[in-house]
Symmetry: D3
Subunit: 300 residues, 6 copies
């Protein structure tokens, strides 16, 4: 399970938070600030781009809360001729209203995208357009249904997410906060996988199982990890806190904290004995390529 809390400090909160009630209140203020920001951006865009105004009003500006807006948006993205938008809207709104941690997680994920992805223009850009963000929020709801023993509904929703976003996260998988699924197409996360806080995962990443035997059989990704595009991690292995897995790597055994594994099969940059240690938090710094010079003799 996620072991640490979201670390970054949100912009409008400068006071020293000494007790939990203040923390909650500050978090609420923070969440409120982000939603106000999203509405403000949407209003600006609606004014400058009439062709988009209808979309912005229906999706964001006509709603009184981030929960309602997100429920509407997901309901319309995931509905089909046999799973109506009204049903899904209701389902999402109930979940977001009953469990405030879903909203906090969404806010943390929005901040993650905004801070880590230089192509992320604004909060509303991520909120409206990032399939990784949307798939992750929808997953959190399937996870809640799963925990409530509503498997058939969770799996039906999971199927829609996999069809619409090409992001396939099993409802039972546990995901922390401040997680960025960048581009996201092709991500597959298995049933017993766990993803910590402040993790960044690129597209085509697989956190897969070991075979047809059930039980705990998928990877555990600790806090602050960065997993590059197309990496495949299989089995109940641990990717230690602050570790980095290079793009296209195939990882079948544990990766120690703060090290970088690359290649197929993956090996540690700097060697097994004295691996190079990441100095920053890769999941936040998103540094995909600085290890090149150390990748043994990688030249062309």
């Amino acid at each position: 399970m996620p072991t640490t809390d979201v670390r970054y400090v949100s912009p409008p909160i400068t006071a020293n938070n000494n007790n939990s009630s203040t923390v909650i209140s500050a978090a609420n203020e923070d969440d409120t600030w982000v939603w106000a920001q999203i509405k403000s951006e949407a209003r600006r865009d609606a004014e400058s781009e009439p062709a988009l105004a209808s979309y912005l009003y229906s999706t964001i500006l006509s709603h009184s809360s981030l929960e309602q807006s997100l429920s509407f948006h997901l309901g319309n993205k995931l509905c089909s001729s046999t799973l109506l938008s009204t049903l899904l809207y209701d389902l999402f709104l109930n979940a977001f209203t009953s469990d405030p941690s879903l909203r906090s997680a969404a806010i943390a994920d929005l901040r993650a995208a905004r801070q880590r992805d230089p192509a992320c223009e604004s909060f509303s850009h991520c909120f409206l357009n990032y399939k990784g963000f949307l798939a992750c929020q929808a997953h959190r709801v399937t996870h809640r249904l799963w925990q409530q023993s509503r498997q058939p509904l969770a799996l039906a929703l999971h199927s829609r997410i996999a069809d619409v976003f090409a992001v396939d996260i099993h409802p039972a998988a546990r995901i922390g906060k401040g997680v960025l699924f960048d581009h996201a197409t092709g991500v597959v996360v298995g049933e017993t996988a766990v993803i910590g806080n402040n993790v960044s995962i690129l597209h085509h990443v697989t956190l897969g199982g070991t075979g047809k035997v059930g039980g705990d059989r998928h990877p555990k990704i600790e806090d602050g990890v960065l997993i590059g595009a197309g990496a495949t991690i299989l089995g109940n292995v641990k990717i230690g806190e602050g570790a980095k897995v290079g793009a296209g790597s195939v990882v079948l055994i544990d990766v120690p904290p703060r090290t970088t594994a690359v290649g197929n099969p993956a090996r540690l940059v700097g060697g097994k004995e004295k691996p190079s240690k990441n100095k920053d938090v890769p999941g936040e710094s998103m540094d995909h390529t600085s290890f090149i010079s150390e990748w043994s003799d990688y030249i062309i």
Copy 2:
């Protein structure tokens, strides 16, 4: 072409089947049992989850046969504003009704998912939600159209399957029975590819061609093969019966039967001279990672 028949024995068939008419009758009984099972599961889920009941009734419980239910489900999944659900429903129903082998293949695929994927909760779970299962059944219909020289229709349907499921199987490709496309997103199978019986193929797998010259240019996957996530197999190469291709591998030449190829470029586990031999049927056992210890010096 698929060289062997489905090997597993279905639950309710215990008698000794000595002649073909008995076999057919037994197969029918078996098929009937699976459809009854799907309906029974759907009824149970509809009762426990009213929010899903409408979906379960429209998709499964209102239909009198697996063929009709599957035609409805695929028609609604694959329709668009220019290819109406009624047209597709008609097309699928005609195909399933005219060619009973399509139903048998669907049943065998359902059993494959149920037996090999520990995350597969029930037959109805696979039937409703597995994009690999659905894409494969729809492919079988495009293949039938192709054989009937109805190329334009086959290709239009192929395009819808590729859009909706992100699974791109050329209508001319031949696929056996008891095949599991697990997760399935990103699978690409070329025009002259052949996939045998009891094969399991993970997501992002490519069975691709060699270039712009036509003719027989795609891989031949024999019975019982397991191909791991993200593996790329190019050209008219043969992956021998019971062989295994590791996740992320790039294979451009033949892989002998019952061996395991891993890496980029792929090499045989145990070495070219005395490769380790798989003792089970990888396509059925789905063992993705047991070869690690033998992967030369793979440690981190």
Copy 3:
């Protein structure tokens, strides 16, 4: 930026073109010929396949120009319950009408598919069904919106393309003419990437960035390059004219012109010092596998 123009000569143009006005006129004739060809193919298919006739009439045969037909097709493919088909149709038609280079590029891409992909049966097959072709044409319109400082609209459209086709090309990325995105599922092209003319890119290819720092951080793909399935190229690196990147390769540094890079991490075929030189234009010849024999000791 793309450095050379489309090189092939279109079938009906045989005269010697000595000046630019003749060239333009010839190009127009060429474009007209392709559109006439598409209509003729569609008419033939509508006659032979009544089940498809409605689709062919609504998508192709009822339209008076390729621009209108393409706008209709993209509008219906990309619309959603909150972004209506009429809005998108209008948007596409305005773009295609205002900027004739968009039509020329579409024609060049159609020719590329027809010439390079042996599975491409006809122009109309590509026009109707190739998600890579359609995603690319829609991308060109998002790119135009981006250049007109209409970011929010460009990004909303980008999001729909990524959802519907699982092809994620940032609106700011620049793409030449005669480009083939074959199969296309899972392609990701970052904000500052540039793709030249006559390039062929297979599915699951990533042209990604280096991290969270903005600026020019994505690959530059020069004319005539071929990038195999699942290749990952990261950072502001240059893949030189006529180079080839093998399937599944991970490339983090420059690849010299006319060489072939394969593996993870990628290395030059023939070695760094005296790499083998491609004699044809890989982006056009689409030769994926001929380098095998030279791939050091690649045997199984």
Copy 4:
């Protein structure tokens, strides 16, 4: 109940039909002729009007029988987000296939429109566009469901017909053949009403009940009757064979055969004692206004 059979002779049948098997065969030939005619008209229109071709192909030209075409057309007209077109298509197709008299009745109604309505340009015009024709055919299916004790389904379908066409015919009402509902908007026909053969009924006509007591309480309209626009007929009264009810009339008591009733309350033209007698069959001649000169002193 309808007391006579369709009287007109269809164009291509000129032979003397002496026995029932010949009659059936002739009727089949006749039906076949009408369907061929509809297809031929649709083909002509598709050629001359490309904008309509897609509609004509999907609705008529892609279908192999009138039953299938009509089922498709009604399914798409009457479907809603909670009653899917595939369900309705199936329902209609089953009914039309199981009960050939439904097709005969449809053919007879088509002929009625073609012969009696000078604005009816062609069979396909009526088949595609006449809401009275379509509502009547859909009613026949609800009536069949009613007779099969499938009340809830009959009533749900009845509700859709009333919403979509503003034509409200209770599923239990019995309707003969060769019936023309001209314009049809606002027609209301109650539960125990009976309409004979070769009747013509204009829009806004009510065949209503007497109050809240159940039982046989609606009008009986005998063969060949013409009921003008906006006429209201209430109670278990008989409108005799060949009678005519003027536009806007209110009729609460029996109207003798071959007489004309006009006004509010309706009276017989020519007077109660020696009413004028219609010489033709008003339901076929459609003469709405020739009685004016006899309407006592009707001048302005």
Copy 5:
């Protein structure tokens, strides 16, 4: 304004209700009973008719309250491509939740249909299928919006009701409880019209204005009135308590309580001086035709 309360006693309430809190509680019990009845009927029908089960589950059985079910049903009936079902569902659910009198009125209307219309098979039949019932409930919400000075939204919704049900009730019109709009197609009720309790109004009835001058210009229909099909009542005239207006009548001046007006122009049955007096409550007894014998010399 409606002057009396709903008079009938609901089935399960037999105790003597002496004070208002008991009345309210009894009313709640009553409402609960009707909703339970609707669900029970729907469950029975879903079991006997699998083809309808999906519809019954989505519309009734998956909802936890009549308000939610009605909001869903109206949202799906009235939505369009530019007014989404989720928006309307939200709007209706908010209104029904905020104002419990809307639910009471719906219950009273359901009882009215059940008691007065012999063709009304069950509560669920009316709830699902009666366009008059549905249009009236949707009207009550437009009326609430109107009172909240949300004119543009009220009028947009009004427009959808008029399109979908062909029932055109101005949002400002005031309507009592226990009202039956039977068949309902073509009903027009103007801005300043008032309809009392226990009124029954047939289809094509107009409560219209006097011209282009604003102000109070539409009819006032008092409690217990019955208005026959196609009757037109124009101007600020009063139709007294327990009066009856015959089908097809045109009424431009007041009708005294408990009298019956028929004809064009309407006159009192029995004569102006000593008009016959209705002994029952016509709006409840629904006796449309018993006055015939007294209609001066109405014979044919």
Copy 6:
């Protein structure tokens, strides 16, 4: 054909118009003013009612001209699963762009509603919500298609208008400018009917034919006529300039100019010999009921 031009003077035009070019320019200014007014109203409503803003933006505020906005609105109202909104949008936009008189007529109709209907709150209210206005504008386009000998398309569109709005105007019918169809449900206008300028027609009005003989067989309504709700006018009769037909009247013979006909059968108010003369223009004054006192002995 309409014999006089629109008579009212639009607000912003005060100058003396002496020649036709000034007239045209003034008309254009007038049209521009109305469109600006509609946008201004919509903007105000979008600001005050966020729930409606999306609808207002998509329908009005995102469009650059009344023609485009109306084409979009009609396209979305009239589309179906087999007649796509993009097709209809294109069709309407082409018609409105090619024939500026369609825009002028729409503007004149908007003014008519605004001036004559006290319930008409604003131009945008009529533009968005009046089914009579919308049906009439769509009819004008069917009429244009009819004149261009595109009968099948005109009739298909006519059928959609009749389904969606319950307004059934034959494409061949000719309609002037400044026409108000108030409420409009149930209006039927036959093939050879002609309606002049500044006419007002209430709901359920029929301008019907005489029977099954073709030719000129429908009413001619001259300028300034008012036809009350439910009136039925049959045959090739002339309703003279400035005449009035009372609600529920049945008219089968000519009505002289400036007289009022009422009843079934209709008679002139004031008697045939010396009928009362209307002093205003009834089509504009909309006085429905002032003749009561003169209606012979109409009392109750």
